[in-house]
Subunit: 311 residues, 2 copies
């Protein structure tokens, strides 16, 4: 399952889906059967991130049982699982969720937690294209991501691009990442998957908001020396914010991270303002690959539809 | 009158207004009395361009008489004129309307029509900072701009910056342009205005939409070789669009412009998608300065409040 437009004001992935629908031969699908799905059609039509709540925080069955479960995005989340979930009408075992960001993330992957098949897929893509990986975990404030409801899946995150803007290079980057993922999955299905010896991840540590006034309005913005420097290390004392009087505010590490160098990601993502996130801090780690990861992906991939034409 | 946030998802100018309100000494106002005004507070609170209609197309008295005149932005337009218009409760004779754009416009000015005082003010700023000027005129599809309801005024337009994002360098560029404008006005008020010998304008010729399918969806995007190249000349046959099959579509001039080189502006401005504008075409012209322009600005500026402290 390849999803675009989970957020309605991210315009590049939906355009890519249209392109593939009209010219399936241009999607190097490696013979894999694919469902190409517009994530949030209502929000896409309105060119807004969402109508009532963030669809990509709505894939938590606990939410579906609440009194607010009639909200458009909760309804849509259930719909997608009912249709394309592993027990759905058109069951998919792997999902690629295509996003864009106003942050300078380049072409990158986001993995949620440490499911072995996800790590194998990410490692395979990283081995082909060298994409950096943000490992999102242990963040109780941000839950209910789409890919978590499928046995295997990850987010392809490309930026910077403003919300609402179509940029050919953003589409091209997304396309390359999707094709790399499909090549890994095809190899896994065929039993010929070879993965690199290590996986480099940027593991989520904490999120940091802008300094704010008592009324919630920003008291500073991202420092120009930090703007656009996602994935680049930052140590205590380095310039992070610029306040309204033109004074630099240095990065002060959260408790427990006092002496660490961190790697910021999602610096100045427009949609995260409302979530109180000006950037997230990660730790760069190199993990040796475990054989079980590839085995789990291969076991999943055996069930992938290897013959169907592209729908 | 200095207005920010006429569009609610342009966050940089409102931040600059807050900054100046809290630290008036950091605004080089040249002793001019200023009204610092948040253009569209409702849209700003919602972080949306507008609530019901574009405020910066709502300053047309003919609209105010229509049955739709209860729309939030029409009400706000009348409010601003009643309060700060030349015959208002706190009369202002000059307005600077601060905007940002997702296009790579840099730090630039937009002038609406050829009012002599506007041209003098723009020439003075261009003489100080070299900013390029987009002369918007003869475009019946886009009318009702805020600055047109004041005797003199222009738009300061800075980009690229995504909607909803605060970037210190965008604020800094806006601040420099405002301070240059205030310096010109102060000189005009003091009778010591010296203007350059010529004004370089990029005169509006036409707007061009993306190629679209029958259902209105985009059939192509801006070509990567044209993306980000606002203010740079383009001749017939140069790459302009890239269609979904990866084919380049060359720039085909509209009728009447067949053999002209044009200078595109507002390439890929996110908010112009709904207006059917992927870019606007201009002609670069150098005009000798007319003495009457400076005289008209000086006559207006005589009435400016030279002594009041910043509010």
């Amino acid at each position: 399952m390849v999803v675009g437009g989970t957020h309605g004001n991210e315009r590049n992935a939906p355009w890519l889906l249209e392109f593939w629908r009209s010219q399936p031969q241009d999607l190097a699908s490696q013979g894999l059967g694919l469902a190409l799905v517009l994530g949030n059609p209502g929000a896409h039509a309105a060119n807004r991130r969402y109508l009532e709540r963030d669809l990509n925080r709505s894939f938590d069955p606990a939410l579906w049982a609440e009194s607010s479960s009639g909200q458009a995005e909760l309804v849509r989340a259930r719909e997608l699982v009912d249709q394309f979930g592993p027990a759905g009408l058109e069951p998919c075992s792997v999902v690629l969720d295509l996003h864009s960001t106003t942050s300078s993330m380049g072409n990158s992957l986001v993995v949620y937690g440490r499911r072995p098949a996800d790590l194998a897929l990410a490692a395979g893509i990283q081995g082909q294209l060298g994409l950096p990986i943000y490992l999102h975990e242990a963040d109780g404030a941000q839950t209910g991501f789409l890919v978590e409801r499928w046995p295997c899946g990850l987010v392809i995150e490309v930026g910077p691009v403003p919300q609402g803007v179509l940029q050919s290079q953003i589409c091209r980057q997304s396309q390359l990442a999707v094709e790399a993922a499909l090549a890994v999955l095809a190899d896994a299905a065929d039993g010929v998957l070879r993965l690199p010896n290590q996986l480099v991840v940027h593991r989520h540590l904490a999120s940091v908001d802008l300094p704010r006034h008592g009324d919630g309005s920003p008291a500073a913005c991202i420092h120009p020396q930090r703007h656009g420097r996602d994935w680049q290390p930052m140590g205590p004392g380095e310039a992070l914010f610029l306040d309204a009087s033109g004074q630099t505010q240095a990065y002060g590490p959260p408790a427990g991270l006092e002496h660490e160098v961190v790697w910021p990601v999602f610096i100045n993502e427009a949609a995260y303002g409302e979530k109180g996130i000006a950037l997230s801090l990660t730790r760069r780690e190199c993990w040796p690959l475990e054989a079980s990861w590839g085995e789990e992906l291969a076991a999943l991939a055996k069930d992938l539809d290897r013959q169907s034409p592209v729908p």
